[in-house]
């Protein structure tokens, strides 16, 4: 009996894998996928490379060359302490990537747990969880962030945690909906008929089939999370200066608009281009993962 089940599991996952390969091929040919992909890969490269590839140290102060406009020596110019903006921006990609990944991991883990509990754990659990989720979803996003940060105090970690927690209700609702829909699907019925237990069905059968929906959802939420965390740093409620976090680099932007526009333009454009890249890549991902598109 056990082996039949195992074989069955294999036959379910085989077409999935070839679909995945097909989706990847389509992604490589997708124009906005290409542009977005390059931006995201650049971000990942500089985030992983660290200080070693940078022309200057990110915290090295040079009072003589402060507020220099962009030049061949300093591609993006220097800030009020003479720090090289080009190096700081490249190093800042590390924060962006970390914020995106950590907060999404928190949101997804929390959301999957609650969503599976609500969708597969009986009426009472469903009602309790969804009431809380509904209240949280009825709350404007930034207010939720501010509430959490007001409790924990402003720092880079609390801002990531807040962005993550604020993302939980969205994931929970998505997963619950998918679980409820898949619960009645024939292949789940089949697993039940084969004697698979409740937990095994939830984690082994239903969860893997929610993956592509989750990737699509994450492609929306990751750029939003990065944007929110950068906004928090800008407000002084996230990463604190002198960390070369892009949002934090804009804290005193207004004072420099008249005299040194590049101090504002460099981090601002960095955030804009990264988010644009992530959005373009996400668009392409949704195009190739959409089941309706896949059948074409």
């Amino acid at each position: 009996m056990a082996t039949t089940m195992h074989e069955r599991g294999e036959t379910f996952s085989t077409p999935e894998r070839s679909n995945f390969a097909r989706a990847m091929r389509r992604l490589l040919r997708h124009r906005s996928g290409q542009i977005g992909g390059v931006v995201v890969l650049t971000l990942v490269f500089f985030a992983l490379a660290g200080e070693s590839v940078l022309p200057y140290e990110t915290l090295a102060i040079d009072p003589i060359n402060r507020l220099q406009p962009p030049s061949l020596e300093h591609f993006f110019g220097t800030d009020e302490l003479g720090r090289d903006l080009f190096s700081r921006i490249l190093y800042g990609s590390r924060y962006t990537l970390m914020i995106g990944l950590v907060s999404t991991a928190i949101a997804a883990t929390g959301g999957i747990t609650l969503g599976l509990l609500a969708g597969g754990g009986g009426k009472l659990a469903d009602m309790l969880i969804m009431r809380v989720v509904d209240v949280l979803l009825a709350f404007p996003y930034i207010l939720l962030l501010l509430a959490i940060i007001a409790i924990l105090g402003p720092s880079l970690w609390t801002s990531m945690f807040a962005v993550g927690v604020a993302g939980i209700p969205g994931y929970a609702r998505l997963i619950r909906g998918e679980v409820l829909a898949l619960k009645e699907a024939e292949f789940v019925e089949a697993m039940r008929a084969l004697g698979a237990g409740h937990l095994r069905i939830l984690f082994g059968t239903i969860l893997p089939n929610v993956t592509s929906q989750m990737v699509i959802y994450a492609s929306f939420t990751i750029p939003l999370a990065v944007l929110a965390a950068a906004a928090l740093s800008f407000l002084g409620l996230g990463a604190q200066p002198p960390a070369p976090e892009w949002g934090a680099m804009l804290v005193d932007a207004r004072t420099f608009l008249r005299t040194a526009w590049w101090v504002v333009a460099a981090p601002g454009m960095a955030i804009f281009i990264s988010i644009l890249g992530m959005n373009l890549f996400g668009n392409a991902l949704r195009d190739v993962l959409d089941p309706k598109e896949m059948s074409k």
């Binding site: 209240v135 996003y141 207010l143 409790i151 105090g153 402003p154 906004a231 608009l257 804009f272």
Partner: protein, 310 residues
């Protein structure tokens, strides 16, 4: 219909309760309570302990949680939001005029967002796959990716620093409203434009539109009399949801432009650890959002009487 309206109104209560719990938690969960923070290092420890005990009693911090929550709800129901820990003035006074300012900014931005979003979305749908569509959708994509706190500075740089048309920092008059409203409005317009486009395209592919075309009605008539009213239904829902974004976005835009709204205050209050103000700002804006959405939902029943809300 009447039962739907009643149920929709009743639905507000659990949400308000949730908001009360959440805002209460802000005070209850703060690890280093603000009172201790206020006195640390300023007076001798013995005196400080005394003062802390006094103030803790004043803010009911020495009572068990459920009693604290009861007192909190009771006070809120009597519109007593407490005193600011920092300035000692009643929070309602601190918030009052700022709340109005935030509403003005949000409303102005909403007008910008709806106008720009609807017009570009309609044009995109109508001229689907032409350069108009491609341009407007590309700009929209950029708008979605643009952080408000950078876009605001770009506008300040162009209109205040270079052209010197508008003030850099808020003075509270109409001139200083223009840039914040445009910043916030344009960014929200991007999302609205995409939704307008897709719901228009959806409606334009329906059979009744084909029938209207077959009858020989003019394209403009079909667009404005047949398609738009039906597309507006889904657009209206999104606008309701966007008011939340606008309120939240206003918090950021207020800081950029020095616009004296509740968002600017909330950010400062969090840094000061002034929990009564933080609590009140979040309570007031969340309730505003809930009521606006209630109104939008009720409007929906009026705009679309077909739907059976069972």
């Amino acid at each position: 219909m009447a039962s739907y309206i009643l149920r929709r109104i009743l639905m507000v209560f659990p949400i308000i309760f949730g908001i009360l719990v959440l805002t209460f938690l802000i005070k209850a969960l703060i690890p280093t309570d603000a009172v201790t923070a206020l006195f640390s290092g300023t007076i001798t420890e013995e005196k400080a302990a005394e003062a802390i005990a006094l103030i803790r009693a004043k803010y009911h911090l020495d009572l068990p949680w459920h009693r604290q929550f009861g007192i909190y709800v009771w006070d809120v129901l009597h519109l007593d939001l407490g005193d600011s820990i920092r300035t000692r003035r009643p929070v309602t006074e601190e918030i009052g005029f700022r709340y109005v300012n935030t509403l003005i900014l949000t409303f102005a931005a909403l007008v910008v967002a709806i106008f720009v979003g609807l017009v570009t979305g309609l044009l995109s749908a109508y001229f689907k796959d032409t350069w108009i569509d491609v341009t407007s959708m590309s700009v929209g994509m950029m708008g979605i990716s643009m952080p408000a706190f950078f876009f605001g500075f770009v506008l300040i740089f162009i209109f205040s620093v270079q052209l010197r048309w508008l003030p850099v920092i808020g003075r509270g008059d109409f001139q200083s409203l223009i840039l914040p409203a445009l910043t916030l409005g344009f960014i929200e317009a991007a999302a609205l434009s995409r939704i307008t486009r897709s719901s228009m395209l959806d409606v334009l592919s329906r059979e009744y539109v084909r029938t209207a075309r077959a009858k020989g009605l003019s394209e403009r008539y079909i667009l404005f009399r047949h398609a738009l009213p039906n597309a507006l239904l889904s657009i209206l829902t999104i606008i309701g949801l966007q008011i939340g974004n606008l309120l939240g976005g206003a918090f950021i835009v207020e800081v950029i432009f020095g616009w004296h709204g509740i968002g600017e205050l909330a950010v400062k209050a969090i840094q000061w650890r002034d929990f009564t103000i933080t609590q009140a700002v979040i309570l007031v804006s969340a309730c505003t959002y809930v009521f606006v959405n209630l109104i939008v939902d009720l409007l929906y029943t009026w705009v679309d009487p077909r739907i059976n809300y069972e």
